[in-house]
């Protein structure tokens, strides 16, 4: 514990002391090194207080008589905070310094509509409605201007239409739920026919052109996957989230190069009997993240960062249906070898609520900027946090 504190506050002296964990990062980053970003959206508004809970809090016990677990059930991670029992699998990851927990993340002014809030988190814009381009898409476009050789594969593994965060991306997005989804069928002659038919460009911007582009990138993706085993790697559960994590694993292995994945877990909108559903989701989350973190660690190439977030947290006081209603600030998680590890965002202050909700102290865009600097090497000009300081969640290289 003490050692890690020391490392966090005085990296310069730690370097000279030559502690082995830092030696890995003392070299300048290899520009050819693959980097992966895995976005995990907890859709519906995750009750962060039930995920990372203040310990021994009398006021919380009064406000959540049925929802708050008893102290002996919670898993302490520090003097002040504990994890939900179903996240027990993630404790070793936190202890080894590979997980950052960022409390009090959100934006102002708060908005309790799922649609509006998701659009804000995806676009990175709070002061107007943006429906076309997202924070990832814009950042990639900026980076491409500076680094012409930049090449990133984007993967949409969740349900529903293309996520807004990818909007405006200069790189194609591959959508799939299983490796089989990209199978074109037919032998090599047929594939050649399809490939030839999708070449060229008749009228730029036309539907035919759009169809050809999509077919070409799907064929390319199918080719890269082609040689990969169709069997899901070991260690991943068969539930909805486990399947997505297993697919990230397969794709990370099959595709060399930089990758960004969008995945999700739905069902967090727990207005009633929260303890019947949220714990199950948290268990699924924990299993999936632990399995993926382990797989990527063993892969031997590439550097992965996992960002877990939700569109808002939930109200501190439980409601009459033993659930919680839409709130404001929540908790984000960042996992990976290069994260600084620990607790960030300041204390969860139940004495300084914003109309009964946790007050956002960390603008979500500062988290995005940290992630972008770690994955792309630079922050995005188009993400302008309104408040809060940069947290420096990624270790300097």
């Amino acid at each position: 514990m003490k050692r890690r504190q020391f490392l966090k506050t005085s990296s310069a002296s730690a370097l000279t002391l030559g502690f082995s964990p830092l030696l890995r990062f003392a070299h300048s980053p290899d520009s050819k090194k693959e980097r992966r970003l895995i976005l995990v959206e907890l859709t519906g508004g995750n009750d962060a207080l039930n995920m990372v809970t203040p310990r021994h809090s009398k006021s919380l016990r009064l406000l959540r008589p049925t929802l708050l677990r008893s102290e002996d059930q919670l898993i302490p991670i520090s003097e002040k905070y504990a994890l939900h029992p179903n996240l027990a699998g993630m404790l070793p990851i936190f202890k080894s310094g590979q997980m950052s927990i960022i409390n009090n993340v959100g934006y102002l002014p708060t908005n309790r509509s799922h649609f509006r809030s998701l659009d804000i988190w995806h676009s990175g814009i709070t002061d107007k409605v943006e429906t076309q381009r997202g924070w990832v898409g814009r950042a990639l476009k900026e980076q491409q201007k500076v680094d012409k050789k930049l090449d990133v594969s984007l993967f949409h593994l969740a349900d529903g239409p293309l996520p807004l965060c990818f909007g405006g991306s200069p790189f194609p997005i591959t959508t799939l739920k299983t490796l089989d989804d990209l199978r074109f069928g037919g032998g090599s002659e047929v594939q050649e026919i399809i490939r030839k038919a999708s070449e060229g460009e008749k009228r730029k911007g036309s539907d035919a052109d759009f169809l050809k582009k999509t077919t070409r990138s799907a064929l390319e993706a199918a080719k890269k996957i082609g040689a990969t085993s169709r069997k899901t790697p070991d260690g991943f559960s068969k539930d909805h989230f486990g399947r997505q994590m297993g697919l990230v694993a397969s794709l990370a292995q099959a595709f060399r190069g930089n990758q960004i994945f969008f995945t999700h877990l739905t069902g967090f909108d727990t207005h009633a009997v929260q303890n019947e559903s949220q714990p199950v989701l948290l268990a699924s989350l924990s299993r999936g993240l632990v399995a993926l973190q382990k797989f990527l660690g063993n892969l031997g190439f590439g550097e992965s960062t996992i960002l877990v977030y939700s569109e808002f947290g939930r109200r501190v006081k439980e409601n009459a249906s033993r659930g919680t209603d839409h709130g404001a600030a929540g908790t984000a998680l960042l996992l990976g070898d290069q994260v600084r590890g620990g607790l960030f965002g300041g204390d969860i202050d139940l004495g300084n609520l914003l109309a009964g909700d946790l007050r956002p102290n960390v603008d979500f865009r500062t988290v995005y900027q940290d992630v972008l600097s770690g994955v792309l090497g630079r922050e995005s000009k188009s993400l302008k946090p309104d408040f809060g300081q940069m947290l420096r969640l990624i270790r300097p290289k």
Binding site: H156, F184, V190, I193, S206, D207, A208, S217, A218
Partner: protein, 421 residues
């Protein structure tokens, strides 16, 4: 461009006949297109609108597929039900009926994922098939009381103490007017008017003592309004015709035309008192419909793609396989993704769904196990140009002439233009 709803006076040849049969149905074989072109627009349109004599065996085949739907619905087999619908669309001698039912299925989107009752879902589909070409007010009234719809929009418990705003909102937002053409207070008042509209033993029932019979004000109309009165009020709004016109144009033209044309189409709808068959008789014979801006460039939905491929080739395919393929392409009949219905145009297309479309094509061309081969054959010297025309609307030369008819068809279906119709 003024008065685009005026009657079309241009050529009605092979291209025009193909355009009509693709949009007002699910495409046709080369001989069918030829026959329609020979008839001329007026008589061709009459057939399309259902006023022809249907040959016995064709009719029986079609009705047999419809009867199958009812049987598999009772057994609760959704894939079989989807497959039966798809095959009846392939077999239909009056495909405008199925095409319009598909339009209403999207407009009045109801998902079995919530309803969980295939008999009710199939009954709702029957409403779309049998009332879809009649007066909109009649269809709307029937759908508003349809058991599957009531379950889907939580209309089953709707009392004066607890009016159902969800139902009132969808009636205005999705079925008749669209966002921005009503106020929140109209919804609250309309919800009061719909109180008493309940579901009992799987049927609609009006429960009088659950009904709020006080005076209400909805969209400017005041009085002791009941649910049917609210439907009348919604349809009397000027914007209603424009709302429906835009949706019909999007569906039948592939894109929403300029505002001036929407106004003209809306006016035609009003003149025909929202009678769909009468309106379509004018619409499909208009300058707008045959304008070059709206030919070919319309991405087919999965259902349209598979049904038109099989119709044009007069081919067979396993019912449940067809349902599985449509699902992989992103469309599950009787189970749209939400109240807003299905995607449109380019939103149908992503890497997974385009690969699924190609898998269908390659399997069809291979005559894969469980999938029956093409029934009818062209003359010995395969007329590739005819096949190309009917599947793509233009001439494309294959690199070589394949041995089997269906392989040649596979080549054409592999062209990106096969997705447009």
């Amino acid at each position: 461009m003024r008065d685009m709803m005026r009657p079309y006076t241009g050529t009605f040849g092979m291209k025009e006949a193909r355009h009509l049969l693709c949009r007002a149905g699910f495409g046709a074989t080369y001989s069918e297109v030829t026959a329609h072109a020979k008839l001329g627009l007026r008589d061709s349109l009459a057939l399309v609108l259902g006023s022809g004599v249907i040959e016995d065996s064709r009719y029986r085949n079609w009705q047999h597929k419809r009867a199958m739907s009812a049987r598999v619905a009772i057994r609760g087999e959704i894939e079989a039900l989807q497959g039966a619908w798809l095959l009846s669309a392939v077999a239909s001698p009056f495909p405008l009926q199925e095409k319009m039912a598909l339009f209403w299925h999207d407009h009045f989107a109801t998902a079995n994922a919530k309803v969980d009752d295939l008999v009710a879902m199939n009954n709702q589909m029957s409403l779309f098939l049998h009332k879809g070409l009649g007066r909109f007010r009649e269809l709307l009234g029937a759908v508003a009381k349809d058991p599957a719809m009531l379950v889907f929009l939580d209309g089953s418990k709707n009392s004066k103490e607890n009016p159902n705003e969800n139902f009132a909102r969808e009636v205005m937002e999705l079925f008749t007017l669209g966002i921005g053409h009503y106020q929140e207070r109209d919804i609250k008042e309309a919800a009061r008017a719909f109180t008493g509209w309940q579901l009992a033993s799987g049927q609609f029932r009006f429960v009088k003592n659950a009904h709020d019979s006080g005076s209400k004000s909805v969209l400017g109309s005041k009085g002791n309004l009941g649910g049917d009165d609210v439907l009348d009020v919604c349809l009397s709004q000027k914007h209603n015709a424009e709302f429906l016109a835009a949706k019909l144009c999007r569906f039948y033209l592939g894109k929403v035309p300029p505002r001036q044309q929407i106004i003209e189409v809306a006016e035609a709808l009003r003149q025909e008192k929202l009678h769909m068959r009468k309106f379509l008789a004018r619409f499909f014979a208009s300058e707008l419909f045959f304008d070059s801006a709206y030919r070919i460039g319309r991405i087919k939905s999965p259902v349209e793609f598979v049904v038109s491929a099989l119709r044009s080739l007069d081919a067979k395919f396993s019912a449940t396989q067809l349902a599985k393929r449509c699902r992989a392409m992103g469309q599950e009949l009787f189970n749209p993704p939400g109240v807003a219905g299905w995607p449109e145009g380019r939103d149908w297309i992503n890497s997974a769904t385009i690969a699924a479309r190609y898998r269908f094509v390659t399997d069809l061309a291979k005559g894969k196990d469980g999938i029956l081969k093409v029934r009818s054959k062209l003359p010995e010297r395969t007329q590739l140009d005819e096949l190309s025309f009917v599947l793509l609307g233009m001439k494309v030369k294959p690199p070589r002439r394949f041995d089997a008819l269906i392989e040649n068809a596979g080549f054409f279906l592999a062209q990106p233009e096969a997705q447009l119709g």
